[in-house]
């Protein structure tokens, strides 16, 4: 898959994984493994980018005597997911166009 397209989709996946509950890095990787396999080296820059664009908020909580970073989906993050879903029809049209082009060949 195209790297940029994949990155964009993973970003939305990460946001979607936080829709129900706040979560932490390893848990997000496990949650996403049902649809896409990602590693820490992929996740870290995405979390960083989402945090700087204020789609996520980070807080630290104690867990088993150590500190763990949790990620919380912000209103802006939810809006981003909604925007993606709204754009989906357009994406499908593009998909159909590309598929149709291939079939005509």
């Amino acid at each position: 898959m195209d790297i940029q397209l994949k990155k964009g989709l993973i970003e939305i996946c990460v946001l979607a994984s936080l829709k129900k509950n706040d979560s932490y890095g390893y848990q997000i990787i496990k949650d996403l493994s049902v649809c896409v396999a990602i590693s820490e080296s992929t996740l870290y820059p995405i979390l960083r980018r989402l945090e700087s664009s204020e789609c996520l908020k980070v807080y630290t909580m104690e867990h088993n005597g150590r500190l763990r970073k949790y990620y919380h989906l912000t209103v802006k993050g939810r809006e981003r997911i909604d925007e993606f879903l709204e754009d989906w029809d357009q994406i499908m049209n593009i998909y159909e166009y590309i598929k149709g082009g291939n079939e005509n060949e």
Binding site: G25, Y26, E40, S41, T42, Y44, P45, R66, K69
Partner: protein, 193 residues
């Protein structure tokens, strides 16, 4: 490879990243390994489940796009507290520079004012002397000669004063405008050095 070895290698690989970024990243990976170990993996298994370090650092530099410490740029070796101490200690020297410049500008401005005032005075003297000439001529010849001399003297000096004022004023205005900016830029250079 155990956790400690992995973290040491990671630190080496990311040493070109900014310090705050390094701390964040090390905490992130430390957390990731702790979570895996907590789940029942051994340290070696946890490390093995992560990306290889080469792939990891390549991915990170590509993604974070944090410029490595610029090659050729001299690292700032003077600690901040020492730098401020030196700035305060040497303040009598560098503080004198803007003060002296300010005094020079003040003198320059004063000279321009003098030129303008003298020029106007000579002009007024010349005009008034010219109109007084007939009456003084009829009253006293000696006074008339002195008056003619004064008028000629005034006519001769007024243009010089005016030209001097006109020629030096733009340079003076430019200096007044640029001096605070120049002082500020020198100050910033000194602080950033």
């Amino acid at each position: 490879m155990n956790k400690q070895e992995f973290m040491q290698l990671l630190e080496q690989r990311i040493k070109l990243l900014p310090l705050s970024e390094r701390h964040r990243l090390i905490n992130f990976y430390n957390e990731a390994l702790e979570d895996r170990i907590e789940e029942g993996m051994s340290e070696e298994e946890a490390v093995a489940s992560l990306d290889g370090l080469d792939e990891l650092s390549l991915n990170l530099y590509d993604e974070i796009k944090a410029a490595p410490i610029e090659k050729g740029k001299r690292p700032n070796i003077i600690p901040c507290a020492v730098k401020w101490f030196l700035i305060v200690l040497t303040s009598p020297v560098w503080l004198m520079i803007p003060v002296i410049l300010f005094i020079l500008l003040l003198v320059w401005g004063l000279l321009l004012v003098i030129l303008l005032v003298f020029g106007l005075c000579f002009l007024i003297m010349a005009v008034c002397g010219f109109f007084l000439m007939p009456s003084v001529f009829h009253a006293n010849f000696a006074s008339f000669v002195v008056l003619v001399g004064t008028v000629l003297f005034s006519i001769g000096l007024a243009p010089w004063c005016w030209f001097g004022f006109k020629a030096w004023t733009p340079a003076f205005v430019n200096c007044c405008k640029s001096m605070p900016g120049w002082c500020l830029s020198q100050w910033q250079k000194a602080v950033n050095a």
